[in-house]
Structure formats: structure tokens, C-alpha cells
Symmetry: C2
Subunit: 559 residues, 2 copies
């Protein structure tokens, strides 16, 4: 009879419980112990913003499985309100502190799993410990915020950081009648996830939903009164606040691993190999506390996601019971609901791709989520990023009121398999009018990149055009929409001109073949056609604005 | 100066207009002529069921671009109400018949495109020409059906054929207050697209929506009274009908190609190479009239889809103007909205895969469309099909009230790149509670196949269990849900037994290690866990029902 495998798991949120369940299914005889510092295992931390807003009413819904379920079904020891404080790798023991009593004891392991998660980043600001200053990382945090909101007199709420949690919480607070300001040190929302012009498309909606956005504002401290927070101080201004949420991202919890001498990567996460094994072969680690391999760049990255933590858990559960499963890596895929908009991305943004040194070609394509003749369809904006030389896909962003998750997941799959833009153009995606157009926006985005690489489509992006307009450059801005569309809204600059596309061939004499001509329409379909007509007629410097009016990210020049 | 390229395109629905537009963008000087036998180019034929139901109100919405738009923007000749009757390949001429006058003339080409589409299959039944007997292939068909419905006295409507169009029209007719019966010669709905147990999941919903379904009934003829249809006769019965829609699939329109001596494939579609070139290098063909290569089997198939026709059009437009683009093939991806359900598939069904001789492993996984704690989520049922020996993915079906198109499109992308089930298990799909669970049903379906291949999960499918029950086989049917769930609904057979999962380890003595034990719960998550508990305790013949109650396709044995 084999020796009983003693498995100890530190951390009970996502990776830990998943590893537990998998290990038990594979090894009915193992002795399994899980250590969790809070009250419950398997809390649904990704749902906390919705628990705070009341969309999810019952706290019990936030706990996937009760501790007794783990005990009874998985036949294991569940140690809650206990913290693992150190690892003795030589004698394979973990020292555990009982949090209520402060007493320590040790537990022996054959295989140890570190799933210690991550903690919110809290700068060393004056006032960070005032009442009413919160971070959101776990169920007790969420319950505390819920309670504080209920007795809040000053409804002005400041969220510091326009990342995923910050924006989910903006919606969550606004739904409770709070007045929300989001302060972000960088220049646009979701700055680590989206490029500027894509973020700008979401930004309008957020503002229309009543959220005040302050970009490029570095917070320097928090003000209080009577022990409670009363304001946020930035380099430029002060903002009144009855509640402040710090959502500046998270850092991996690696102190126990570092103290035990395990290798910590340059990212700050625990270094693991493809088996999710640390530098000690008897110790595995997964979830938010480890660094992952990025599938596009091959670089190590920190991308803390519940979905990744669950996948890690299964692989670790396999490997600590004698198996041999591997985790390939991540794409940094993310999605967030922001009021009625969806915002998702996978792979690299354009700015990330350029930072990594890729030669980049992109396309920016607005389009309906499904057949435009089928009623109720909403818009999306797709940005595709590829390598110019090879056409290899590097990343994708999709935002808007229309369906985004499908396109992101298709692109995540395409990126995983190393597809090029030509592959996307011919993907046999499901088509029927309630779901799609005959050509999906992804097909169109891929074809625009092909047309750009083939020097058929010549474009300026909105930022380039804005700069030209700001600099009063001389060129013709040609609108090829109908007069009715022009009346409603247009780019109103002196050099603008309207020639509806069906009249263009007859009215070529109104343009000069040597002029620089920049064309736009509603989505760029007609503008591209117009570009080809003019080039066919011998015009020498013709381009169109990518995304045209549908993707124009500024208030400027519109009327 | 090069000679002007004379391009002639036969057929103006989807592939033809797309080829036109692309060709014009690439070759400003070409002489382009399109020939269409009906009134309009670029009609949205996929939207016809929604035009008939009134979801799309205006006929003008069914025409993507007016004929004058083609003339003015693409600078081309649009010949409508004209039919191409023959091709003289030697002298490169097409003979055209003017339909109103019956006069013929000829037109010369350098490159010819055949985009003649497909026509509904109409068996040689007595009564097929009666008033009130329709097929649905084009806008005039739809207008005729709309008019006929308005003056219909007998509201009983029979749809012959439970394919995509048949089911879309069932909903369309029902929404207009008609009483709808669908008659299908095969044994379940969408028989060429879904496996039985997946179709059964949709079937319940269709019946609850008031549609009468008659399977395994071969129609032999139609009855009339006063020149109008009054009934449908099958081998077994007669059905009263004031309107009959024949939706038995389509056949490619290849007569002009065949008469010209072009190669027709064994499928009946025009044979083309990867450049969509026919056996005559100056003649290209695309859309419904050609056969495609199936990306999984490599075999030639007929899969008429508007999405494919558009992709063909772009490639042909490139190649007839000197380019070199290729079409890789199709997966038979399809999706259909059936009242409040979605039903999609891509790649091969299990039955198709077996017909092609693959050794097959499948998984049947019900699950919520997104995080079950986030309110409003609806169910989907995923069936994954893979090659047992290699784990290579072969196909996927997703049905239910929840989101299906996303999962189908992810799998279409995965199938295109030749992924194996392990790749799906670790796909970095977008995750946030309003969109997904931390583990998507696709992840779970892939992991179930991995567990089956690793001999960890042992299952019976619903059909196998039904057969065992029908044969009164001796085994223990173990329900591991809670008592409250058992009270609501259960598989009510004499050999059934309830032991809630958390009590299972304590109550092992109620079971015998030598018995055959088949376990179920609500979705199979608990049943799989129970299987592993029993096996860990030395039980020798334990399986669980795939999909458990959530995927039980029968009324039988339920109470």
C-alpha cells in the first residue's frame, strides 16, 4: 500500500478549492488540508461589485460551496481563520497561526500548494487609514462597503483608478444613488487594457451615465474630518468625498514564498514552470500570486483573473497527485460591463505591441452587432492589432453597447493558435440575422488590415487627423455621406466638403488631383470606396479616416 | 495601356454583388456587367423569415443596395429581369434572355463569374402546384407568402422539413397567429445539423411555443380544393392545411455551368479550386452554386450560406482582377433562433463523425450562460465531439435559451486551427460575471472529454440509459441531489435511490460494491464527484448520466 500523500493548500478562494477538488477526485486516499485566513472557502470575489450594488442580494450567493461541503464531499480538513506564516522546506512543514487565539502549530506536507492570491495596492498616502477609505478584495471588504454606503450622508464618492474594478464599482455606486467621480493618473480609462481611441468610445457612455471622469490627475493624499474621509487631494485640485475606493490594481501575495526562499520573478509574482511548480519541486503555486507566460510575447506577466486561477487549480490538482498537466499561458483577456456598454480586449493593445517592438498594423472598424435590417441591433467598435510584416495577429479590442464578448473570445482562440489576419477573414463563423451580419465586424476588421497591407486602403487614424486639424494643415476633408446625414452631424472645419458617394464620379472636377484629400462617412465603408474611386481617377494623395464619425473619439470639430 | 478587362457576373444576390464591388475597387478600368433575373441586386435573403413575420416591416430594408447605387458607385452595367441562358466558352460569350420580351442577345467576357445560387428542392408530389403551396428562396416568394397569409381563412399551416428555414418559418408563422405543424421525414429536428439528444433539448421549447412536430413522417402528396391546397398527405395520416411551405433544402443552380461543360462535383455543386476557379480558368464560381471543402474531413460538401457567399465574392473579385486569393473551406457552421432558444453547431455532429469513420469521444454538458450568482442567466447545453485517439476536435453543438453563438464561434475558430481538447480547456476566454463563469461550459465540456479519455469519468449517455430502462436491466439509479430537488422532479424507476452527495461517504453501506450504479444529479457535477467517491471506496461499476436531468431528452421516466 502506498504512503498516504499529504497535501496542504494555502489559500481558499479559487485556485485552492479547485486544486482540492481535483486532487481528491484523482487520489481518494490523500490527506488534504486547506488553510484560509477568512471565514469561507470559494468566495465569488469577481461578483463583489454586484453584491455591493444589490444586483446580487444574498451574501450566501457569494459563497460557491460551504466549508462543510468541502469537508463532507472531499473528505478533507478545512482550517479557516488560520494563516500560514512560514514554510520549512527542509522538513516540509508549514507553520500556521490561529488568528483568533494567536497560537501557532505546524502541519507536514508532501505536496504544498501556495494559492495566496493578491492584495490591493495601497500607496502610502496620508489619510489612507481614515474611515470611509476602502479597497475591494474580498467578501468582508464588500460587506463593509455595503454597510458604510447605507449610512453615508455625503453621497460624493471618489474612485481612484479607472481599471476593471474601478469601473465596475462606478456603476455599482451610481446604481445606489451615489455621485461618482473616477480619478485616473493616466490619460484614459482602462489604460492598461485599451488604446486611447477605443477607451474614448466607452468614456462618452460613462459620462452620459452620470460618472465624472478626471484623467491625468495624480492623487497625493486623502483628507479627513473626525476620523472619516472627507476629500481626495490631487496635484491640481481637491475633491469632496464621503467615501473613497482605492482601485489601483493588486500585487501578488508572495511573502511566505519569498521568505521560504522560493524564486520570485521580475514581475513580483512567484515564478513557476509550465507544471505550475515553484523552484521547489514539492511546492506548487497558482492563481493571482504567480506570474504567467504571455502567449504572444513569451514574456512573464501578472494577469490576476479568477478564470486563470480556476484553470491553475485543476492543473495543480492533477500534478500534486502524480499527474503531468501543463498550463500554456495567458493572453490578458478581459471584459467588463460598464452600464450598458461592454468593453473587452485580448492579446496586446497597439501601444503594448509597439512597446514590445513589433511593427504594427491596426484596423478600427465600427459595425452593427448583427444584421442591420434585423431590428434592435447595437453598435460595436473593433480594433484589431497585427504584425505588419507577417500579418500575425497580436490583439483585439471590442467595445460598445453591442455584443463584444463573442468577438473577444473568437480572437482569444485565434491568438492562441497563432492565426494571421487572412485566417480571420475566412473564419466560418455562425451566421443568421439575429446574431450577425453575413460579414462579421471581425471579418471586416481583418479585411481592412489586408487592404492596408496590400496598399489598397490608405487611412489616417482619428488621432492623426486631430493633430492635422489642430495644426491647421491644408487638406480637403471630404464627406461622402448624404445631405441628410451631413445636416445631422459633421466634422465642421473650413476645408470640409460634401459630395455624396453616388455623385462622386460625376463631380470629380470639384476636386484637384494633387490635393491631399481625407475622406469620411459614417463607418468608413463609403469612404473607402470613395478613396478607390479617386485613386482610380488619378488622384495622388487620398486617405480615409478609420472608423469615420462612428469612431471619432473627440468632442472637437463635431457639430 | 492594358486592354480593358471585361467582367461578366451571373447572379446578383450575395456573391455576385460582393465580387462586383471588390473587382471595381481593384480595377478602376474594368468593364463590369451583372445579370440578375429578378428586379433587385443584393437582396437580404437570410432575413426573409423575419420580413414575412413583420419583424422587419419595410421591403426596402430587404435590399442592401439599390441598383442605381451599383451603377453610380461601381460604374457598371446592371442588367435586371434578364437571365443568362448559355455560355460559349470558346468565343467567351454569354447568351442573355430578356425576360419581359423574350429576346436574346450576347455579351462578351474576359472573366466570367457564375453566382447562380440555389433553388428549393420540390419533390414531384401531386398537388405541388396548388395555390397556397410555397417555397422560400427570394423576395418575391416572401412577398407572395405575406400576401397569402393575410387572406388566409384556414389558419392551419404545415411546414414540410424541420431544417433551418423550416424552423425559422415555424416561428414566423406562429407570430402571425397561424397554427403550425412541422412534418419531418427524419426522427428529430435539424437532423442534418444536430444530434438527437441536442435536438430534443430544443424540441421541448418548440412544442411549448405551440408548434406541433411530426417526426418520421414521409409526405406523399398534397391535397387541394378549388385549386387551393387543403391538406398534406403522409404515409400514415392526413393533415389539414391552408398553407404549405416546402423547406426540404436547396439544390445548387448548375444547369448553365453543366451545359457549358464545366465540371460538376459529386455533390451536385460546381467544382472549383481554392481560387474559386472552375474547370475553365476564365470562369469563376461562388456562393450556393459551388461545392466547398470541409475543413475537418477534407471532403467536398454543399453548405449554402450567405456568409460563405460573401467571402467567395471578395475572393473572386480579387482573382478576376489579377489577384491570387484563396478560400480554405467551411465547417458547416450554422445557427438559428427558434423562439427564445438559440441552436448552433460547427464542424461534425457525432453521427456525422461516425459516418466518416472517426473513433469518437463526446461530452454533453449543461451549464449556465454566465456566473450562476449573477441574476438572469439562462441555460445552455454543449455537446463537444472529438477524436478519441488524438483528442482532435471534430465538432460542437450548443443549444438553449442562453448564449450559444459565442461558444459556436469560439469552436469554429478552434476547429479551423486544428485544436485538440486540451487547448480548449486552457483557452483564455473573457471572464466577468455578466458574461461567463470562471470556467465556461466549453472549458467544462473539454475537461469532461479529457476525464473520459483518462478513464476518470465514466458515463452513459441518455440514449444508453433509456435503452437500459426500456429493457428493464438491473442496476442502481442513484440520485445524489438534495431531497428538495428530488421532490420536484426525478427519474422515477423502481431501481432508483436518493443519497445526497454530502451524505454519500457516510452511507456507502447502503450500496453494494459489485452492483452496477448509474448516478445522476442536476447537471452531472455532483454525479461525477459521486462516481469518484464510489470508485475510491472500491466500487467496481459506477457511471454517471451525461448532462443528468438537465439534458434528459425524454418525457419517459420523469416525474
Amino acid at each position: 500500500m502506498p504512503t498516504q500523500n499529504r497535501i496542504v493548500i494555502i489559500g481558499g478562494t479559487a485556485c485552492g478549492p479547485k486544486a482540492t477538488a481535483r486532487a481528491r477526485r484523482l487520489d481518494p486516499a490523500a490527506k488534504i488540508t486547506i488553510i484560509e485566513q477568512r471565514e469561507n472557502l470559494s468566495t465569488a470575489t469577481c461578483g463583489l461589485p454586484y453584491f455591493i450594488s444589490g444586483v446580487i442580494t444574498d451574501e450566501s450567493n457569494m459563497i460557491a460551496r460551504q466549508n462543510d461541503y468541502f469537508r463532507n464531499v472531499f473528505n478533507m480538513e478545512v482550517l479557516t481563520h488560520k494563516r500560514a506564516v512560514s514554510i520549512d522546506r527542509k522538513s516540509r512543514k508549514v507553520e500556521i497561526s490561529d488568528l483568533p487565539s494567536g497560537k501557532n502549530n505546524t502541519i507536514e506536507y508532501d505536496k504544498l500548494v501556495i494559492a495566496t492570491g493578491s492584495a490591493p495596492i495601497v500607496p502610502d498616502w496620508e489619510g489612507k487609514d481614515l474611515d470611509g477609505v476602502f479597497t475591494l478584495n474580498n467578501l468582508p471588504d464588500a460587506s463593509a462597503i455595503r454597510s458604510y454606503v447605507k449610512q453615508l450622508e455625503n453621497k460624493e464618492t471618489v474612485i481612484i483608478g479607472a481599471g476593471l474594478i474601478g469601473l465596475e464599482m462606478a456603476e455599482s455606486f451610481a446604481k445606489q444613488g451615489l455621485k461618482v467621480t473616477v480619478v485616473e493618473a493616466l490619460d484614459w480609462l482602462l489604460p492598461k487594457l485599451l488604446d486611447f481611441e477605443v477607451a474614448a468610445y466607452v468614456q462618452k457612455h460613462l459620462q452620459e451615465s452620470g460618472i465624472r471622469l478626471l484623467f491625468g490627475q495624480r492623487v497625493t493624499g486623502l483628507e479627513g474630518s473626525g476620523g472619516r474621509v472627507s476629500g481626495v487631494i490631487t496635484e491640481n485640485t481637491g475633491i469632496r468625498a464621503g467615501l473613497v475606493l482605492l482601485s489601483l490594481g493588486v500585487k501578488p501575495n508572495v511573502s511566505i514564498a519569498r521568505d521560504a526562499g522560493l524564486t520570485i520573478g521580475a514581475t513580483g509574482g512567484i515564478s513557476v514552470n509550465q507544471y505550475l511548480q515553484t523552484s521547489d519541486p514539492n511546492i506548487y503555486a497558482g492563481g493571482d500570486c504567480v506570474e504567467n507566460t504571455h502567449l504572444i510575447t513569451g514574456e512573464k506577466v501578472l494577469v490576476p483573473m479568477g478564470s486563470t486561477a480556476n484553470k491553475h487549480g485543476r492543473i495543480i490538482g492533477t500534478n500534486i497527485t502524480g499527474g503531468n498537466d501543463t498550463f500554456p499561458g495567458v493572453l490578458g483577456t478581459a471584459i467588463v460591463k460598464i452600464f450598458e456598454y461592454n468593453a473587452g480586449r485580448t492579446g496586446l493593445t497597439e501601444s503594448e505591441a509597439r512597446q514590445y517592438g513589433y511593427n504594427v498594423v491596426t484596423s478600427l472598424v465600427p459595425g452593427p452587432e448583427y444584421a442591420n435590417y434585423y431590428p434592435g441591433g447595437k453598435q460595436i467598435l473593433v480594433k484589431l492589432v497585427a504584425e505588419e510584416s507577417s500579418g500575425k495577429l497580436l490583439g483585439c479590442q471590442v467595445v460598445g453597447p453591442g455584443e463584444a464578448a463573442k468577438r473577444i473570445d473568437v480572437m482569444a482562440t485565434a491568438l492562441t493558435s497563432g492565426m494571421v489576419v487572412d485566417d480571420i477573414a475566412n473564419l466560418d463563423l455562425s451566421y443568421a440575422p439575429p446574431y450577425n451580419s453575413a460579414m462579421d465586424p471581425l471579418h471586416n476588421a481583418a479585411n481592412l488590415i489586408r487592404n492596408k497591407r496590400d496598399k489598397l486602403a490608405r487611412t489616417v487614424n482619428p488621432m492623426e487627423l486631430k493633430e492635422k486639424l489642430d495644426n491647421n494643415e491644408k487638406f480637403v476633408l471630404l464627406d461622402v455621406r448624404g445631405e441628410d446625414e451631413w445636416e445631422l452631424v459633421r466634422l465642421n472645419v473650413p476645408q470640409s466638403l460634401l459630395i455624396p458617394l453616388p455623385e462622386l464620379r460625376e463631380r470629380l472636377s470639384e476636386l484637384h488631383t494633387d490635393d491631399e484629400i481625407i475622406i469620411y462617412c459614417h463607418t468608413s465603408v463609403r469612404a473607402y470606396q470613395a478613396q478607390r474611386i479617386l485613386e482610380g481617377a488619378g488622384f495622388k494623395d487620398v486617405k480615409f479616416i478609420e472608423g469615420s464619425l462612428s469612431a471619432w473619439p473627440y468632442e472637437d470639430y463635431l457639430s
